[in-house]
Each structure stands twice: as C-alpha cells, then as structure tokens.
C-alpha cells in the first residue's frame, strides 16, 4: 500500500481513500475482496479510527465499496472501472495542469513537452510488452 504522507497538503482521510483506490485500480485489492479493517488501517498509519472510517466511507459513497454487517468492508463489483473512470476525469486537473505549469516555468515549449510525453508513453508501452504484461 502507498505511503501516506502526513505532512502533505491533503487531509489524511483523503490520502487513506486515495491509497485504497490505488490498490483497487492496480488490482492489489480485487473486486469482491475484503478491504483492510478500520483497526488495521488505524494501527498501520497510527491515525484515529474515525479518520480511517472517514476514508473508507469515501469509497462507499462512490459505490466502490460496501459493508457486510458483522464481517467488514468489501470492494464492490465494478469498482475498478468506476474508479478508473473517476480518475480519468480528474487526470487533467491533477497531473496535466501541474505538468504544464512547471513546463512553462522552466520555459519548455509546447512541442517539446508533447514529444517528451510521447517518448515516455512509448517506452512505458514497450516495457509492458517486454514484461509480458
């Protein structure tokens, strides 16, 4: 699971939710599988259980997780696609915006930036094929 950076800009419950989302998207937490319990989350990150619950509830609110009474929280069917779609929607704002603004600050031109993205994309694609992924 991703490291949670407590000194970061985001509230902790958001970071907890995002790290769980990442795990679902990557498949580390499969659909239908059980999510870590509130206790596990709160002990692992040494955070208040209420904060951990708030993070998990964000997934529940999106329909990516559900509660089985007396058993625990589970990843919903179709959660991966759902979260992917949400992240795709956020992608431009979360990553591209920052990249472009940094590129402008460093005076990297438009074409130059696009080329860099294309190059990086191709090499990642190649790596995936080589890994038999």
């Amino acid at each position: 699971m991703r490291k949670v950076d407590f000194s970061g800009e985001k509230p902790i419950f958001l970071q907890i939710a995002e790290s769980l989302e990442d795990a679902v998207i990557s498949g580390a937490l499969p659909e239908g599988g059980q999510l870590p319990s509130i206790t596990e989350l709160s002990v692992q990150y040494t955070i208040n259980p209420a904060t951990a619950l708030k993070g998990i509830n964000l997934l529940v609110d999106q329909g990516a997780a559900y509660k089985k009474r007396g058993v625990g929280m589970f990843v919903a069917e179709g959660a991966r696609a759902l979260l992917q779609k949400k992240r795709q929607g956020d992608f431009s704002q979360r990553f591209v915006e920052a990249m472009v603004s940094e590129a402008r600050r460093l005076e990297i031109g438009r074409q130059e930036l696009l080329d860099m993205v294309a190059l990086e994309f191709d090499s990642a694609e190649k790596g995936r094929v080589e890994n038999g992924d």
Partner: protein
C-alpha cells in the same frame, strides 16, 4: 456519559495553576490535552482523579460527583508522571494489585504487552529506568479496561520503537473496543493524527476545546516568494511566519482565497497542529 469539569480553580501557594477551568471529556473519544510546561495539565488530571482537591469547582463522572467517590473513580485510571507504587514492589506484584482493585484488569494481555516491550515481570519498580517506568505504567493503563484512561506524558523516556509500539497497541485496543483516552503530551506531532478532539490549555485556562478537524479547518498555510506572500497576507489574521531564504510560509486564520490575483504562484496547505499550538500558546 462524560467527565465534566465545572469552574475548577486551584492554587499552590502564590501560583494559580487553574483558573476556573471547564471542560468535557466525552465517552469513546481520543483527546489531546495540550499545553506548555506548567500550563496546568497535570493539575487538571490530578483533580479529575481525586488526587488533589480543587479550591473551587466540581468534577462530574457520568453525572456523578467524582470527588471522594469510589464508584466514580473506579471508571478512571490515570497514568501520571510520578509513580505512586511503592518502590519495593515488583512489576508482577503491581499487576496482582491492579487486578484486585480493578476486576476488569486483563492480566494475560498485560503479560503479552510486557513481552512486547521487553519488561521483566520480576523487576522491582525502584530499579526501572525512566523509560521502563513509563512502560510499566502504560501497560497498566492499557490493561485496566475502564471507560476513562488518562495518560500524562505517556511516552516519557521511551525510544522511537517503543513509542510507535505504544501508539499501535493503544489504537488496536481503542478500535476494537472504544474508550475515552486523554493524551497529555508535549510531543504534539506524534499524536496529531491520533486524537479526535483537542483541548489546549494555557496558563491555567482553556484556550480551545474542539475537534482537531475544526480547529485545523480554522486556518491554513500559504507559502511562496517573500514578496508574494507578504502581498497576499495583507489585512489577514496571521498567527505566525516561517522564513527560509527568500521563501516564506505564513500561518493564516480563516479560509484561503485561492482565486485572488495575489494568490497566483502561491501554495496553500492545511494548518499543522503543532504549528498552530506553538502560535496559539506563544506569549
């Protein structure tokens, strides 16, 4: 169900340790009781637990008078900085008596914790180092199973590994079976994410009592170039400032105004509990 303090005042000679303090510790919450040295944290906890009498005011435990009341005090356990066990007592002897006084005391969990921390049950209390004294008392506090557990400087003298182990065991227990925890500590950064509510005490008076979230939501940080930050904070309530070379971080009360022209090129972040505490309690 709660511990309520109403108008508590207490003086020691010329020093007024508490000045009409009122506070509430509700059930099943983790509190951070924060204050600088001599702010009155320990006195407050000592009054709660009938160790010291207040000059004025009342203590209610679940709406029952808490002073000189065995029934009310049976619901509270205070781990204090001073060790009140006889020096000649052994750790396991202390456990035996804890079991006699608190029937809910979990001896087998206690043995397990002693093993986790590497504390020999046969050791005499007089022979324990500061850190192991803290551990001894922490283990007692984690095993008594009472509704209100008060911890005064719980990690005094503990190394980083033991501190982490303690926080994890505390959370484990709390998450499985909630109870009220009051953490009185100087190490704010360590407990910042643990606590749900914060009580800040300054010179014998309660400065703030609210949830950590709402306390932190009341402010934010803004950082960037010195000139840009200075321009942005014009007319705002700034409680503190850090400078590093030409970079500046301002701690501002209120809501961030990210849309403003002056906010361009500035970074906004959440208020940090320790920073807020330092700014609030600096006199």
């Amino acid at each position: 169900m709660a511990i309520e303090l109403k108008g508590i005042s207490k003086s020691f000679g010329q020093v007024q340790a508490l000045k009409g303090v009122s506070a509430v510790f509700e059930e099943n919450k983790i509190y951070g009781l924060l204050g600088r040295n001599g702010a009155g944290k320990s006195t407050l906890l000592n009054i709660l637990t009938n160790r010291v009498f207040p000059d004025e005011g009342t203590v209610l435990v679940d709406r029952e008078n808490g002073m000189e009341n065995d029934g009310a005090q049976a619901k509270i356990f205070l781990m204090s900085e001073t060790t009140l066990h006889p020096e000649s007592m052994r750790v396991k002897g202390a456990f035996r008596w804890a079991k006699a006084f608190y029937p809910s005391f979990d001896e087998s969990y206690g043995e397990k914790l002693l093993g986790d921390f590497g504390l020999n049950p046969g050791a005499k209390i007089s022979g324990l180092s500061t850190g192991y004294r803290s551990i001894f008392k922490l283990v007692l506090a984690l095993c008594v199973n009472v509704p209100y557990v008060l911890l005064d400087e719980p990690v005094l003298g503990l190394d980083a590994n033991h501190r982490e182990l303690f926080y994890k065991r505390l959370l484990e227990k709390y998450a499985e079976n909630p109870f009220t925890v009051v953490l009185s500590t100087h190490l704010i950064e360590e407990v910042a994410n643990l606590v749900e509510d914060v009580v800040i005490i300054k010179e014998g008076e309660i400065l703030r009592q609210e949830s950590r979230e709402s306390l932190l939501a009341g402010g934010y940080t803004v950082s960037g170039g010195a000139a840009a930050v200075d321009a942005y904070i014009q007319g705002k309530k700034v409680i503190g400032m850090d400078a590093l070379g030409g970079l500046r971080t301002a701690y501002v009360l209120g809501a961030p105004e990210k849309g403003r022209e002056a906010a361009k090129d500035l970074e906004f972040g959440p208020m940090d509990l320790q920073k807020l505490f330092i700014q609030l309690t600096n006199s």
